[in-house]
């Protein structure tokens, strides 16, 4: 075991030192069982309901950044050097925080069990600076999309959010007022320490050393999937290596026409950076889990997990992305499409980590067409039934080239090779997309599961290709083709 060191973080404004916590302790269990802070609730212990939402504040470039997370699948070791804020901390003495007062004024609670989670998501929303009037509704939906309420039907909560945003535009709260002190306290925490068994390397070299020292220890980043090993599959872990503090993994850059996305970047970070580049990328990433999940889940986690229904692989495969795999002193770059071998199996060797994903800027620009479609039972916070990403590169010589990548259609995220070769000139009037889409029956034999039948998956996959062709052919001003284009009645 590495030398025993102390976990230090701020619980609200109080510096907490915990020398002795198990590395697989969740933040939720820590709060409820170790601190007797029972305001934070367990609804599902799988990151799907938001009842356990807490806010983590971190110092970024001299100011505090507030992020909501699901405490049920977050590990207490990741709190090191940060501020943990729970529903018990918002009121200033007897005076409710404006977030709480709005929820009371607009009758936003009924049974009250989901309410602490909503309050904390709203608190995170209240820290959004300069919210434009026209983006309000989508921002509210985005911040609250991961909080389930079974009682209210949400209308009063939306009203409370609107009222709260009116107030936060002009008022500071106690967290704003003591931001400087909070930052000083956070900076006083020695970043190299953390609790026993929960290892936080700060560089790739340290990471590889620890990996060699503890070959059985899982390497985790956001824990949004790993957390379920603990809470659902009831595994226990004596040693866990977290990549959260490895700065080299946490950057996104564009250099010489190549986007380089560090594996430790969160989906939220990706959304902020790549969202503005393409409408479909923005929509897809906005529908990736919930805000709480996007604040923790990482690019490397989504790829390394190798789920056939992960949201990133189809997008990245259609962008011809490459994955960078690093080991101590060595590095190899693979086309992402070749990274996945079989159900939950990848090319990643035991001594390697995923360090980054690369794709060419040109792929999103130029005269190509790029679309991503995610189909799920519920629009928000749901896993893909089928996810399809299409890239069409027109060509003067042979018509063009289609890249079609699917999730939910096979044991791995996969390209549709037969369809790709059948689609040589999708813009030509002679090309019948319905007919061509039959090729997908050769490419895939999907399974039926809780989300949908195999037949539905095949049918939808075909229809999504048809939609892609229709959209490529349609002009800007043509009829809306997607639900998201339709305004209310």
């Amino acid at each position: 075991m590495p030398e025993t060191v102390v976990l230090r973080f701020l619980l609200n404004q109080t510096l907490v030192e915990e020398p002795d916590l198990p590395p697989d302790l969740t933040v939720l269990d820590y709060l409820r069982e170790h601190r007797r802070l029972t305001g934070t609730k367990e609804g599902c212990a799988s990151g799907d309901c938001g009842a356990c939402t807490v806010v983590i504040a971190s110092e970024v470039n001299g100011s505090l950044q507030y992020k909501s997370i699901n405490s049920c699948i977050a590990l207490v070791g990741d709190l090191h050097g940060r501020q943990l804020i729970t529903v018990e901390h918002l009121a200033d003495g007897d005076k409710l925080h404006m977030v709480q007062q709005s929820m009371v004024d607009y009758h936003g609670s009924q049974c009250g069990f989901c309410t602490p989670g909503f309050v904390m998501s709203l608190f995170a929303l209240s820290k959004e600076r300069a919210v434009q009037e026209e983006s309000r509704r989508s921002l509210i939906m985005s911040y609250l999309g991961g909080n389930l309420c079974r009682c209210t039907g949400y209308r009063p909560i939306i009203d409370a959010a609107n009222s709260m945003l009116d107030q936060t535009a002009v008022q500071q709260d106690q967290f704003d007022q003591c931001e400087t002190q909070t930052i000083e306290l956070l900076q006083s925490i020695n970043s190299q320490q953390s609790s026993s068994g929960f290892l936080r390397p700060e560089s790739l070299n340290q990471l590889f050393e620890l990996k060699a020292q503890f070959p059985a220890a899982p390497v985790v980043s956001g824990c949004t999937d790993f957390g379920l090993e603990i809470t659902q599959r009831l595994q226990s872990f004596e040693t866990i290596i977290s990549t959260t503090s490895v700065a080299e993994l946490n950057t996104i850059s564009l250099q010489e026409g190549v986007w380089r996305i560090g594996a430790g970047c969160t989906i939220g970070h990706l959304l902020t950076t790549l969202g503005p580049l393409h409408n479909d990328i923005r929509e897809l990433l906005q529908r990736y889990g919930s805000t709480q999940v996007r604040n923790a889940a990482t690019v490397g986690g989504n790829l390394g997990n190798a789920s056939p229904i992960g949201d990133l692989p189809p997008l990245l495969i259609a962008l011809n992305a490459r994955v960078v795999l690093k080991s101590s002193g060595a590095e190899r770059v693979l086309p992402l499409a070749q990274f996945f071998i079989d159900y939950k199996k990848t090319q990643l060797a035991q001594n390697e980590i995923i360090s980054a994903v690369l794709f060419d800027e040109q792929r999103l620009q130029g005269d190509g067409e790029f679309r991503i479609y995610k189909v799920s039972k519920r629009i928000d916070d749901d896993i893909s039934t089928v996810c399809a990403a299409f890239h069409w590169q027109p060509s003067n010589t042979d018509g063009g080239r289609l890249t079609a990548a699917f999730g939910g259609m096979a044991a791995i995220p996969k390209r549709a090779a037969t369809l790709e070769s059948a689609a040589k000139d999708i813009l030509a009037g002679t090309f019948d997309p319905v007919d061509a889409a039959l090729a997908l029956e050769k490419d895939f034999t999907p399974i039926g599961d809780a989300r949908a039948s195999a037949a539905y998956r095949i049918e939808v996959a075909k229809n999504l290709f048809v939609r892609f062709v229709l959209e490529c052919r349609a002009g800007e001003a043509d009829q809306p083709l997607k639900l998201s284009d339709v305004a209310h009645g």
């Binding site: 018990e88 936003g108 009250g112 949400y154």
Partner: protein
Amino acid sequence: MADVGHESAVKHVTGAAIYVDDITPAVEQCYVAIGGSSIAFGEITHIDLKEVRASDGVVDVIVAADVPGHKDIGPVFSGDPLLAESWVEFVGQPVFAVLARTHQQARRAAKKAVIAYREQPPVLTLADAKAGDLTVRPPHTMQRGEVEEVMSGAAHQISSTVVVGGQEHFYLEGQVARAVADEDGGVLVNTSNQNPTEAQKLVAEVLGLPMHAVVVETRRMGGGFGGKETQANACCCLAAIFAVRNRCAVVCRLSRVDDMTMTGKRHPFEHHYRVGFSNDGAIEALDFELNGLCGMSPDLSDAIVDRAMFHCDNAYFLPHVKIVGNRYKTHTVSHTAFRGFGGPQGMLAIETVIDEIAFALGIDPLDVRKRNLYGPRTGVVTPYYQEVVNDTVPRIIESLESTSDYRSRRKSVAAFNRSHSTLKKGIALTPVKFGISFTATHLNQGAALIHLYTDGSLHLNHGGTEMGQGLFIKVAQIVSAELGISVDDIKVSATRTDKVPNTSPTAASSGTDINGMAAKIAAQSLKERLITHLCEAYSCVESAITFDASGVHIDGEADLSWQELATTAWLARVSLSATGYYRTPDIYYDRDKARGHPFLYYANGAAVSEVVIDTLTGEYKLLRVDILHDVGNSVNPQVDIGQIEGGFIQGVGWLTTEELKWDSNGKLLTDSPATYKIPAIGDAPAVFNVSLLDDSSNAQNTVMRSKAVGEPPLMLALSTWSAIRQAVAACVENGRFPALNAPATPEEILRCIRLVSS
């Protein structure tokens, strides 16, 4: 009344509200996990719990033989063993329970059991249950008129089938109970439970104790929706048994997956119907066969299928009608109460029939609805011979049709559909008429207890439980209105079986009607005593006395604060504690004859939904909803609107994204929120107009002339389901009837699009 919020609102938003799992642990406190069957149907041949007992932190393990008293916890009929003895009848059925130092240790230990079975093929479908004539209870029939004769003479006849899925309650707080033994071998149980009295009775029975030895307390639930009417009792019983055996505090809390696997859901149904109707869409004869899939035991299924039968007329007069309700047994968890209690499933049947008539005749379904409403033109007698009186449905529809701009929007929808091929819109208006009263007549009773203390503060207790629906604040408002005392001076305390005994479950939308009225009667009784005392003390007449929030005022004589009033009354030896008891009048039902007057009154409402569907994927979006609902003279409009909006969205979930799927071995596939999708915030319509019917006072003498509101609004969501059907119908001209089933998942919508095109 003024804008009064939920009594616990501030505690909710600060995290200060205490739910069962939040109670400060005792020094000696242990946790339960339940070991369930891995097969759907079979005989247990061997149970090996050695590894369980040896697991870290394990304190105690019990099997059926360790249950000291009754081993069955069926609420009405037996059939629900607390722990399986020899046969198991669903995947997840509790077989043993383990007690450990921590929740996690208990769960880990429970996984280590080795149980061998002699497996039998499970019955999982209606077809198989029918073929084997496997039922949990006998069928029941309601009949009026000459169905066959009129049917054969009708201008049009249609027969068809519609399949209706069940629904997981998904209360955010899972099942939980905490038990502490007392010095006499009795037990105090804190539970998240809609029916503390039932829990008390069952805990006493499994322990072999008299009911007086068991106290059950429910302060609040993190959602109930019917899912804690009978399903909360297993946790109470297991916690109590362990607490008595081990002399420690015991918490039995189900993990979400265990909760979804081990507890019952809304009943799935399959309805067969034959309808005969005229050229103008008037229903002449209707033959319904309602087949409830009840799961492995009777539980409450008899009453639930009855309520489906009571509501398959919805708001429409059925001149000649036969309704058969079947209760089929399947090897799944036993299905149970869920908001509406079978009513929604029954109502869905008739709304399908109406849509199909309108489709066959090529007319607006709203016109068919209006043509068949109860009224002087059609008739007022239900299939169970109760007369529909004071019906507000026609007024509601007339008003909503206008305020929602239904007719012109229907034209706009048609225009949209003509100019769009990938997306199609639909709009529909559906009414609700929901019978208020337990159909088990004896349950229609409530009781309350109030104490006025000498400082002028008032303690209020009653038999109803608070599950978020705002019952506690409503009852406090009723007492406040009766006595004049401020709501702020009233404390509503946790429901407890040793304060108000022998209570009915908080169910059937009855909470305010029966407990509110009982509390009002208690307040009246106390007030009368205070008036008598004041008349003597001040030698005044009753008319000289007025009560308000500040206290009591005796004309020209004195003004006393509530503290002064209470203190002087106490000094004069006036009892300041009062009970109130209420039973609903004028209801009766002769089930043998299927005739009677089971409902005191009907709650009414109507909704208009507009949807758009994507014909390539079957995905849909709810664009706009307009609701007009009749709550009578509302005790608390904000709370009532909350019930309407929340009930509506819960109904939308049932009819759209919430899909229960079992595999061919009877294992529930949708056993977590990762696969079972209740509505999220983005599913709420961007335009959501909800109004209460103006100038409506319950013609029946209910408390403050209000109407019950808990369940009825859920069925307003049938408008969304019907609107989806209209959108599917618009996909082709002269296509077939969109025989949409529920839930209308994207897959079901796409299937239906293919169907109409074929």
